[in-house]
């Protein structure tokens, strides 16, 4: 087929990404030629995200570009998740950048372009598009990581993310090349052929992909970059990076694995994935207990959470993918909300974010502290919050397929996690403040972002039925082998 021949339907299918690219370009141009419009950048970015979601909803059903690009229910559900994450990040960014004195349009443009990359990753039905998306994401976020040029920590974050990112991209690319060589095509659908999974080279390729995307997910043992990068990167960018690319990576893995494993996941492969899950949960949770910096703590908590979702990957099957989608929506509202609260609670961005500085904020900044607490309760998986629903479906999928040990290790880990989540809560509510200077005044956008996350945590936690229906429809589009 000729890639350059495409019709209006194909254009409609890729319109969401076109909108993002164009809006990013517009913001860069405005920054250069009309800097007075800066205060509208956040609004423009939100408009871009909203427009992209609008076109995504209206995209014609079925794959486009001759089967290279996905417009199915899965693309829509994941797109909704990604768009919501980007929206929270933009909302948080507006007042955050102003406080940090770095209110530059590049931030929004790079965020939108990174978002575009993640969308490509999740919608690509061919490995080349996936890789292009991955690289677009990575390049944008290499720059975002070192956005505070004058701060040492930020430069360090940029360099670390770049080096490990380049390394992991190489793994991914090797994996793609092997798959290409064995299947003779770049379409993921081409991988679905009998006996393909038994080929050792294919297994090697899948392992390479697992490593490559494991890096992006900050799955142990490929997690080492996360704490340092989170610490130095501007917090709104972390709110995005710590959620969206992780979900996207998992979706790509599901796409590839569901195509290759026509007869279900082989046991040895599953054992490996399960081992990663256990390692990631345990390491993330135990190391998080020792953290003193809030952003590092959230980084390790993220590593642990990737362990929980990897349980679902090990379980495999559409229920597990639906559980992953629900989990990521829950993780979005709680984790992006937590970073939004971090952004709104700390005054000085050039310094680290010790937990101790939060002492007494429960009284000085009751709204922000309350939302932060709610986010932690959700991350800990306390019922009536979104996080519980996420864990509920993941553990249900595990028990349904008989993986009792994984489920037990999972819940014991969430017990450990309570130790550090409550530590932050303890500082906010049960210690008197040490810092004479309180938290910065709260901007309207911060309040909006925090309210949305809090509402999301409670809404998904109390009325999860619509989300589960959405996730289920999305998951059923992949060709899972019936067990």
């Amino acid at each position: 087929m000729n890639f350059l021949q495409f019709g209006p339907d194909d254009l409609a299918a890729i319109a969401p990404e076109i909108v993002l690219a164009a809006m990013g370009g517009l913001i860069v141009l405005l920054e250069a030629f009309a800097p007075a419009t800066r205060r509208w950048f956040a609004t423009l970015s939100l408009a871009g995200i909203a427009g992209s979601l609008y076109f995504l909803r209206r995209a014609p059903a079925g794959a486009s570009f001759a089967g290279h690009y996905d417009t199915s229910a899965l693309a829509v559900a994941v797109g909704l998740f990604l768009g919501a994450t980007a929206a929270v990040a933009v909302l948080v960014a507006s007042s955050y950048l102003e406080r940090a004195g770095e209110e530059r349009g590049e931030f929004y443009a790079l965020l939108l372009w990174g978002h575009l990359g993640v969308s490509l990753m999740t919608r690509g039905l061919d490995l080349l598009i996936v890789f292009i998306g991955l690289e677009t994401l990575s390049l944008s976020f290499y720059v975002l990581a070192s956005f505070f040029r004058r701060t040492e920590a930020s430069s360090e974050a940029g360099l670390k993310y770049f080096l490990t990112g380049a390394f992991s991209s190489a793994f991914t690319l090797y994996g793609i090349v092997f798959l290409f060589g064995k299947s003779g095509g770049i379409l993921i659908a081409n991988l679905a052929r009998p006996g393909f999974a038994a080929d050792p080279l294919v297994t090697l390729a899948l392992l390479l992909l697992l490593v490559g995307f494991g890096f992006k997910m900050s799955l142990a043992p490929f997690h080492a970059w996360a704490p340092d990068v989170y610490q130095g990167m501007p917090t709104p960018a972390v709110a995005y990076l710590s959620v969206a690319p992780k979900g996207a990576s998992l979706v790509v893995l599901y796409r590839v694995l569901s195509a290759v494993f026509q007869d279900g996941m082989p046991d040895r492969f599953r054992t490996g994935v399960a081992a990663l899950a256990i390692l990631s949960m345990t390491l993330g949770n135990v190391v998080a207990l020792a953290q003193r910096d809030v952003k590092r703590l959230l980084a390790y908590s993220g590593i642990a959470h990737m362990g929980y979702v990897t349980i679902a990957l090990a379980v495999f099957g559409w229920e597990s993918l639906a559980a992953v989608i629900v989990y990521f929506f829950a993780y979005l509202v709680a984790n992006a909300g937590a970073f939004a609260a971090v952004a709104a609670l700390y005054r000085d961005e050039t310094r680290p974010h010790p937990i101790g500085l939060l002492a007494g904020e429960g009284r000085r900044a009751p709204f922000r502290a309350a939302v932060f607490t709610l986010c932690f309760l959700s991350l800990a998986g306390i019922p009536a919050t979104a996080g519980f629903i996420g864990k509920f479906f993941v553990f249900k999928a595990a028990i349904e397929r008989g993986f009792y040990a994984l489920a037990v290790i999972g819940v014991l880990n969430s017990l450990v996690s309570i130790g550090y989540y409550l530590k932050v809560v303890y500082f906010m509510y049960m210690r008197d403040s040490v810092e004479p200077e309180g938290p910065p005044p709260m901007a309207m956008a911060d309040r909006l972002a925090l309210s949305l996350c809090a509402a999301g945590i409670l809404a998904l936690g109390i009325f999860p039925a619509p989300l589960w229906a959405l996730a289920r429809r999305a998951a059923e589009t992949l060709p899972f082998a019936s067990p």
């Binding site: 229920e319 130790g419 509510y429 589960w468």
Partner: protein
């Protein structure tokens, strides 16, 4: 509104406090006095609303009443199912009664972040009542865990010197138990789906699953652990003295009065009907741990120098007796055990309240810091004495009836020696409680500062005397309560014994009256179910 109170009375009772808490968010932070009284009024209205549960409860009926059922997450069979029998009725009323009592006490004693305190308390009430009314296991688990969070804050923010440690320990202990229960609940639902093809988390559906003895034993262990930590059964009790001692007075009242009972309640409501064979097989262990709890708690209580800690350990002892009654499993013993839960809620609630009264005046809980104050605070002394006598089971007061029934019921069970051993605990309770009264109120007055000890306030007096009135009422007319308990207790027993006899096929047992699926279902192979 009328139909709401008619058809959805339980929903109203469960969520009225939440609505009150939501309204409290609208209060300005500074309006602490208004917030206190508003929360108190909400809890009084809540009590008033819960009265019809008592009056409209059909004493002759054995099944669940005031049943409500609607879908919650229909695609996996989670429903919003509420209903109460005599056991939950009593505990719900105990909750709606103790909450205003605690809040009334707090009106004059909580100064810090009053609004947040009131919100936490009201949310806690929703969690407790919800757990007592839920008939769907997923729903139950949600309420069960939701209780933890407000209690964590109540201990951690408004508690005593070692509050942080106590709050954390409370949270982790309780959570540790319930997480395994969570997996067990999921397992049951998955098994139900494999056997019948339909998802359900309803107790009535899951109670009819036929499980192999080893599976039952594992699941029973997961449930029993969660409940045993909550009760707490020896040796899982170590969180209790810390939590009770460090919690603010109102928190201690609710902890001792209601939260502990939820462990026993959960055992009766869920663990017994779900895993009858395992429950009967392990009943000797349950009873033996109860006996150890009775004696151990009493002996440790006697050694305490801190009033609150003493009362806390007395809870371990008293709850031990309740556990003995559950383990004995005769109708009399079970009735006595449930009644004793209510009695303990009243007497220990009153004791914590009165200790709180003294503490707020002297800011010490050391027994040695008091002595000879009977003449200075005669009203406090009198109330304390009544609560003490109720706690040690003086005939004419409520404690006697409960203890007597448990001991008689246990004596007629196969485990006669438990009754003998547990009876020593009753004697020991007189030893440590009377010596407490002796050392605090009688003995010569040695500390001069106690001469100016102010008498109990009006609000405190009202709060305490409500409890005292109930102690006398139950002591004199225990049948008002026992008549409501009888059919429910027998239903629990039937659900265990018949299910044992009928075990056969994929589903078993008599109907509990609220199931989604109807027997008989052919046993299908699991492979045919899972997509």
């Amino acid at each position: 509104m009328d139909t709401l109170l008619q058809d959805r009375l339980l929903t109203v009772v469960v969520f009225l406090p939440t609505a009150g808490a939501a309204l409290l968010l609208l209060f300005p932070e500074s309006a602490s006095k208004a917030a206190k009284w508003f929360a108190f009024c909400v809890s009084v209205v809540e009590f008033a609303v819960s009265i019809p549960l008592w009056t409209r409860f059909d004493v002759a009926k054995a099944g669940f009443q005031f049943v409500e059922k609607s879908d919650w997450i229909p695609s996996i069979g989670i429903s919003y199912a509420l209903g109460i029998d005599g056991i939950s009725l009593l505990l719900i009323l105990l909750t709606t009664l103790l909450t205003p009592v605690s809040l009334l006490f707090s009106v004059s004693h909580v100064q810090k972040s009053v609004r947040a305190f009131s919100i936490a308390f009201l949310l806690l009430e929703t969690g407790m009542i919800g757990s007592l009314a839920a008939l769907d296991l997923a729903l139950f688990y949600v309420f069960w865990e939701v209780m933890l969070v407000p209690m964590y804050f109540i201990i951690g923010i408004w508690g005593g010197a070692r509050r942080i440690y106590a709050a954390m320990k409370f949270f982790l202990f309780t959570m540790a138990g319930s997480l395994l229960m969570f997996l067990a609940i999921l397992f049951l639902a998955v098994r139900h789906r494999a056997l019948t093809g339909a998802w359900s988390f309803l107790l009535a559906d899951l109670a009819r699953l036929d499980l192999s003895p080893s599976t039952q034993a594992l699941l029973f262990f997961a449930f029993a652990l969660a409940f045993a930590i909550k009760v707490p059964v020896f040796p899982l009790h170590t969180w209790l003295p810390d939590a009770h001692t460090e919690a603010p007075t109102a928190g201690s009242i609710i902890l001792a009065g209601v939260l502990l009972k939820l462990g026993v309640y959960g055992y009766l409501r869920f663990a017994l009907p779900l895993f009858p064979e395992a429950a009967l097989r392990y009943a000797p262990w349950v009873g033996a741990l109860g006996v150890i709890g009775v004696i151990y708690g009493a002996m440790v209580a006697y050694a305490q120098k801190d009033m609150k800690r003493l009362v806390a350990y007395s809870s371990v002892s008293h709850l031990g007796l309740v556990v003995v009654g559950i383990g004995a499993f005769t109708t009399t013993a079970l009735s006595g055990a449930v009644l004793q839960m209510v009695n303990h809620g009243l007497s220990t609630g009153a004791l914590f309240l009165l200790v709180g009264v003294l503490y707020e005046r002297r800011h010490t809980r050391e027994i040695a810091a008091y002595g000879g104050i009977a003449g200075i605070v005669p009203v406090t002394t009198a109330l304390f004495l009544v609560a003490t006598l109720s706690s040690i089971g003086l005939p004419g007061l409520n404690g006697f009836v409960g203890e007597f029934l448990v001991l008689v019921g246990t004596w007629s069970s196969p485990h006669r020696w438990w009754a003998v051993a547990a009876a020593t605990g009753v004697i020991l309770s007189a030893v440590y409680m009377l010596s407490l009264v002796q050392r605090v109120f009688w003995n010569p007055l040695v500390h001069e500062e106690n001469r100016a000890l102010p008498e109990i306030r009006k609000t405190e007096f009202v709060a305490a005397s409500v409890l005292v009135v109930l102690m006398v009422w139950i002591g004199v007319r225990p049948n008002d309560i026992l008549s409501r308990l009888g059919p429910s207790i027998e239903a629990v027993q039937r659900s265990v014994s018949q299910r044992q006899a009928l075990a056969a096929g994929g589903l078993r047992g008599p109907s509990l009256g609220l199931e989604n699926s109807r027997p008989p279902f052919a046993k299908r192979t699991p492979a045919a179910q899972v997509r």
